[in-house]
Amino acid sequence: MDIQAIAKEIRKDVIRMTYAAGAQGAHIGGSLSMCEIMAVLYHEVMRIDANDPLNDDRDRFILSKGHGAIAMFAALKSIGLITDEELMSYKHDGSIITAHPTYMPDKGMEFASGSLGQGLSIGAGVAMALKMKNKSPQVYVLVGDGECDEGSIWEAAASAAHLGLDNLVCIVDKNRLQYDGPTDEVMNMGSLKDKFIAFGWDAYDVDGHDCKALTDVFKTAHDKPLAVICETVKGKGVSFIEGNYRWHNASLNEEQFNQAMAEQEA
């Protein structure tokens, strides 16, 4: 299956999970924006073995924007770490597939998240530890652009550059919308790329829905920590969700579900 097709399957699972959650809904907008990022990481970039998920030589993925959980769960299904049945138990009482990921490394959920602004610090600690163990894996941390409002992101950014953590990659899903509206209106952070560069990182802007471009930039050699600012569309791939901040966390009725799924085959 080509990578774009895998991204499409992840996107369809995000839609299915949202529909399965019923009236509770799901964080669908910010999950649809990261489907290509997930497909590329799990199928083109990261070394990860579903038969040996705790192998010390695996690349680490940390979902810092915890509300993107359903896209990560769909990606974990795509590599065989969780089943479709588990996926469809999303938000059911007693299920491991929750609104925000829990701590379950053997299922590929390296860390819990949901309290924003923590994944990059945790990732920096992991990257430091890997260096001290003389291990070569990379640590990929996915943050949201709204999440970059959190001061702790920049504490982590400073320390990663200071400590020379060239095995750390911060991926920003820059979908330009946060809960209250456009990020530029809620809290205008200016150029995230310039900010990371100012903090001593290598940084690139990339089209976050272009799998080839994503693959290339993730594989770019870097002797500093690497920030990849992915220009994305919140709600990508579903016409009535794209670019509408009201779909940050929402439910799909049957008609909407059918339309959303049909659009994937168009």
């Binding site: 701590y103 992991v126 530890a129 890997l130 163990k133 702790s152 504490e155």
Partner: protein, 322 residues
């Protein structure tokens, strides 16, 4: 680690940071996975000598406590044994969400060391006092809380933390030339309180370096014919309820802590006593629900009735109206 009386006297002279520095040197040899992380507090925490010996095992994250706690958790998840050291105040309140997420929720075995707990840096004002740290961290599941009674116990608790399989918060109080509770070596076990004095009227349960003042207060009360037992409740969580059960025949239980009377040792003991049908009366001695004005350590302890005379007077007063 050797606990000779000369070493114990030396640690007492050095105070908390010097004693941590001495313990760190031992840790350097016994656990190669142990690392010390700090937020611009390498020098203040007494870790300079360790840093000189093991430059790669001290990571200074600058004045960034949130990053400190999460970074430490990341290292713990990779098999390191991280000690995150900075002011108790900034660990327990500034970085509390990080503590909740990583140590509480995800159970990453980070060892938090809060220096200058209580009024130890009270001269710097309420920002640098930690009188709500025990309450804050005690409310988070999965974190063991230890407040050592003297510098020997401080060294013992830090050494115990090295092999402790879980998250910990060790809260330092006291100062240089801190009086010793223990003249000789003794057995320290996390979660097991130490009975220091016997007396059938009243049981004084203390934690941290105020345990010394509790012992002195018991002596003052004895002169008045009031007999007190003294318990060093060095581990506040999990609480040693057996030790409390052993003093339920007392007419009064007193808790003494360099902390708010809300939610700390007194809170923990009162929660336990409330589950017992005919428990003795309880007097909680600590810091009332307010922020004291900046002042020297001895001044603040006295102002808050935490010096031996103050403790004895409060107990004597309560005893008189039992």
């Amino acid at each position: 680690m050797k606990y000779s009386s000369s070493m114990m006297r030396m640690w007492s002279r050095l105070g908390p940071s010097g004693s941590l520095g001495a313990a760190a040197m031992e840790i350097g040899t016994v656990d190669e996975k142990a690392v010390f992380l700090t937020a611009d507090m390498t020098f203040a925490s007494g870790l300079e000598r360790f840093k000189n010996s093991y430059p790669d095992r001290v990571i200074d994250l600058g004045i960034a406590e949130q990053n400190l706690v999460d970074f430490a958790a990341g290292m713990a998840s990779e098999g390191f044994n991280p000690f995150a050291v900075t002011y108790a105040s900034f660990l327990a309140t500034r970085a509390l969400d990080q503590v909740k997420m990583c140590l509480g929720y995800m159970k990453q075995p980070v060892k938090l060391i809060g220096i200058n707990g209580g009024f130890a840096a009270g001269i710097l004002g309420p920002t640098h006092m930690a009188i709500e740290d025990i309450a804050a961290i005690r409310s988070i599941p999965n974190i063991t809380i230890v407040a050592p009674a003297d510098m020997t116990e401080l060294v013992k608790s830090v050494m115990a933390a090295v092999s402790f399989d879980g998250s910990m918060y060790i809260r330092f109080t006291g100062e240089m030339n801190q009086p010793s509770v223990y003249a000789d070596d003794y057995e320290f076990q996390i979660g097991k309180a130490v009975r220091l004095a016997e007396g059938e009227d009243i049981a004084i349960i203390g934690c941290g370096t105020l345990v010394y003042n509790c012992c002195r207060a018991a002596e003052l009360l004895k002169e008045k014919g009031i007999n007190c037992s003294v318990i060093n409740m060095h581990t506040i969580k999990p609480l040693d309820t057996d030790a409390i059960d052993s003093v339920l025949n007392s007419k009064l239980i007193v808790t003494v802590e360099e902390h708010s009377v809300m939610g700390g040792l007194g809170g923990a003991v009162s929660e336990y006593l409330s589950s017992i049908a005919s428990s003795p009366a309880l007097l909680k001695i600590g810091v009332d629900d307010y922020y004291p004005h900046a002042g020297s350590y001895s001044y603040l302890l006295k102002e808050n009735g935490l010096d031996p005379e103050g403790i004895a007077n409060s107990i004597s007063e309560r005893w008189g109206i039992l």
